[in-house]
């Protein structure tokens, strides 16, 4: 088990462009499954290659259990990377592919053979020894690639988009397999993904990166409940944002004043954020305002409403039973539960794309 520390890690490919990875500090816990999450081109894979020793950082340091490993060659780091496209060596049999790492470590043939079999059992593909990679499906290749990495008992396992090339059914299967093996072997595992759902389902902790910079490093649920910025909240799917001024536990907006005990800003200009499923329709009382139903969509397991409150449009997701209660054009009370309101800073000028979307 190995704890991985990234300290001020920076990678600049080209002076003309901004850094691919910018001053990244990260503490990856020993024996845990950590996700590097972010849109494509945010520096996730670059970070991973630097940990594996396949790319040299421009500056900063990488430590395994407190010791810098920058001067250690990739083949001696014990950080094994599994690439997104598996990269099984095409002219080798499956057994030779899985045994490759052991052969490089000069392990004797008999032991390699038995450990290859153990690995094939682990990834549930026994009897595949003599096949060639091109005879395998994508999901099978993925499992062989995983076995090939695990056989060398790495200190750190690095998975680059492990599920992205698989169809939905295989993805679930692979997810379970990765989680099971990771828990059984207790290997510090880092995986890269652009899919926030994948990160949330699979990881113990998620590091969210935008443009090579760390945005938030937290347990998965924090990204939904207490995002650091409007941009993060947006990345994690539909949230309503209403600008206002925050002071002493209340936020004053154009459409009213709301109690909001949970806030990131002590005082000043702020953004009220509330998820569509936290908006209560048809309930009056404290923290409620009056709105007009603009439109609605019935989607089986839930119903989605567009509501206009003053000059602002918000989205609400409710139980399907409520569809019949409100017709388009109705004036109804809309309540924001204070415990579900999260007040954020106004950093939206930097990221106009994230500004006040429903």
């Amino acid at each position: 088990m190995t704890q991985v520390t990234l300290s001020g890690l920076t990678k600049i490919f080209d002076q003309k462009n901004p850094p691919a990875v910018d001053n990244l500090d990260l503490e990856i816990e020993s024996g845990k499954l950590t996700a590097l999450l972010g849109p494509s081109g945010c520096g996730k894979t670059t970070t991973m290659k630097m940990i594996a020793g396949l790319l040299r950082p421009t500056s900063g340091d990488i430590l395994f259990d407190g010791d810098s490993i920058l001067s250690i060659k990739p083949e001696e780091r014990g950080a094994v990377m599994v690439f997104q496209n598996y990269l099984l060596f095409p002219y080798m049999t499956i057994a030779d592919n899985i045994g490759f790492g052991l052969k490089m470590r000069k392990v004797n043939k008999k032991e390699i053979k038995s450990r290859v079999q153990d690995m094939l059992d682990l990834v549930q593909l026994p009897g595949f020894e003599e096949r060639k990679p091109n005879q395998l499906s994508g999901g099978q290749q993925q499992r062989i690639a995983l076995a090939r990495a695990l056989i060398v008992q790495p200190n750190v396992l690095l998975l680059d988009e492990p599920l992205s090339n698989l169809d939905a059914h295989l993805r679930d299967e692979m997810r379970v397999l990765i989680r099971r093996i990771q828990t059984e072997m207790g290997i510090t595992t880092v995986f890269v993904t652009h899919d926030q759902e994948e990160a949330v389902v699979l990881a113990d902790k998620v590091a969210l990166l935008f443009d090579g910079r760390l945005q938030q490093f937290d347990a998965p649920d924090s990204f939904y409940d207490t995002p650091n910025t409007v941009e993060i909240a947006t990345f994690f799917g539909g949230t309503n944002f209403i600008p206002g001024y925050y002071l002493d536990g209340t936020i004053t907006t154009d459409i009213g004043v709301f109690d909001a005990p949970h806030s990131l800003v002590p005082e000043g200009n702020a953004v009220l954020s509330i998820r569509p499923e936290a908006v209560d329709l048809g309930e009056g009382g404290e923290n409620s305002v009056s709105g007009t139903v603009l439109s609605h969509v019935y989607a089986g397991r839930y119903a989605r409403f567009q509501i206009r409150i003053g000059d602002i449009e918000i989205e609400a997701v409710t139980e399907p039973g409520q569809v019949k209660l409100f017709a388009d054009g109705d004036n109804i009370p809309v309540k924001f539960d204070p415990d579900k309101i999260w007040v954020l800073g106004t950093d939206t000028e930097k990221h106009p794309s994230a500004a006040y979307t429903g």
Partner: protein
């Protein structure tokens, strides 16, 4: 029953059509490749062959006796041609594979210029190039010996080797090497177990080209060899005017390695091989 069997004759006729086409193709190729050799062979065993006879009126083994006889040094020249071609092949693999890798995998300033410069020896007539080289080679004692001839043979061969390899490497995913390193392979082990098997067909094709181009060099060998280095093409040229029968026999000897090498490496020359793709750059 009839409806069930109906599709079969149609499928069969299509297969028949395809095999016929294949045979026509093979025969066509053979007539282009083999037919020109037939008169050469007939020349080599003829004693009297004058117009308008279709075949010689008298036959003789004299030409072949001359080929084997030590006075004409055919065996020596064959050995020397082979030695030069092999040396040239080894050198061009050692230089061309890394050069092709650099061109195929990396982008660097002036890459376009380097590509044009590599093509230059193919575009510029060999005679023009070698006249300049000759004076240099005389100065450095490379004129009139095997080493000099081998080196000058690199001028037309290295471009082919380099371009074939650049095509191969352009289709090669370097991540395979990173994967191998990550799994614990050192630099050399990575090259040996991962890279070499992947690019091997290209090396074979490039080596083949090099061998054959070197094997058939005349002008370069004549000028740099300065009459001291006697290879098969030089010998062949000497006999071509005076002794057509011997020239015919020599031609047969001369053509054989080409056909042999081609047959041995035919599996690497299939159309969808990346190595062949590289030749498209030429």
């Amino acid at each position: 029953m009839t409806t069930a069997t109906a599709p079969f004759p149609r499928i069969r006729s299509r297969t028949v059509g395809r095999t016929t086409l294949r045979w026509v193709g093979i025969m066509g190729l053979l007539s282009f490749l083999v037919a020109p050799m037939v008169p050469l062979f007939i020349w080599s065993i003829s004693f009297r062959w004058f117009y308008p006879d279709i075949l010689p009126s008298e036959y003789s083994a004299r030409a072949w006796e001359q080929v084997i006889s030590p006075t004409n040094n055919v065996i020596g020249a064959t050995g020397q041609t082979t030695l030069i071609a092999l040396l040239c092949t080894v050198l061009s693999v050692l230089l061309g594979v890394p050069a092709g890798r650099a061109l195929g995998l990396h982008n660097f300033k002036g890459k376009r210029i380097v590509e044009v410069l590599i093509l230059a020896p193919i575009i510029v007539p060999g005679l023009a190039v070698v006249l300049g080289i000759d004076t240099m080679f005389i100065r450095y004692g490379l004129s009139g010996n095997i080493l000099g001839v081998t080196l000058v043979h690199l001028v037309p061969t290295l471009p082919y080797m380099t371009l074939v390899m650049s095509g191969v490497y352009a289709n090669y995913d370097v991540d395979y090497e990173l994967q191998a390193r990550s799994l614990g392979a050192r630099r050399w082990a990575t090259q040996r177990y991962v890279t070499l098997p992947a690019v091997f067909p290209g090396v074979v094709v490039g080596a083949l080209f090099t061998f054959l181009i070197s094997w058939s060099q005349y002008v370069l060998t004549l000028l740099i060899g300065d009459g001291q280095v006697e290879t098969l093409p030089i010998l062949l040229f000497n006999f071509a005017r005076s002794e057509p029968a011997i020239a015919g026999a020599l031609s047969v000897v001369f053509i054989l390695p080409g056909i042999l090498v081609l047959l041995l490496s035919s599996k690497y020359l299939s159309g969808d091989s990346a190595a062949v793709g590289g030749i498209g750059n030429i």
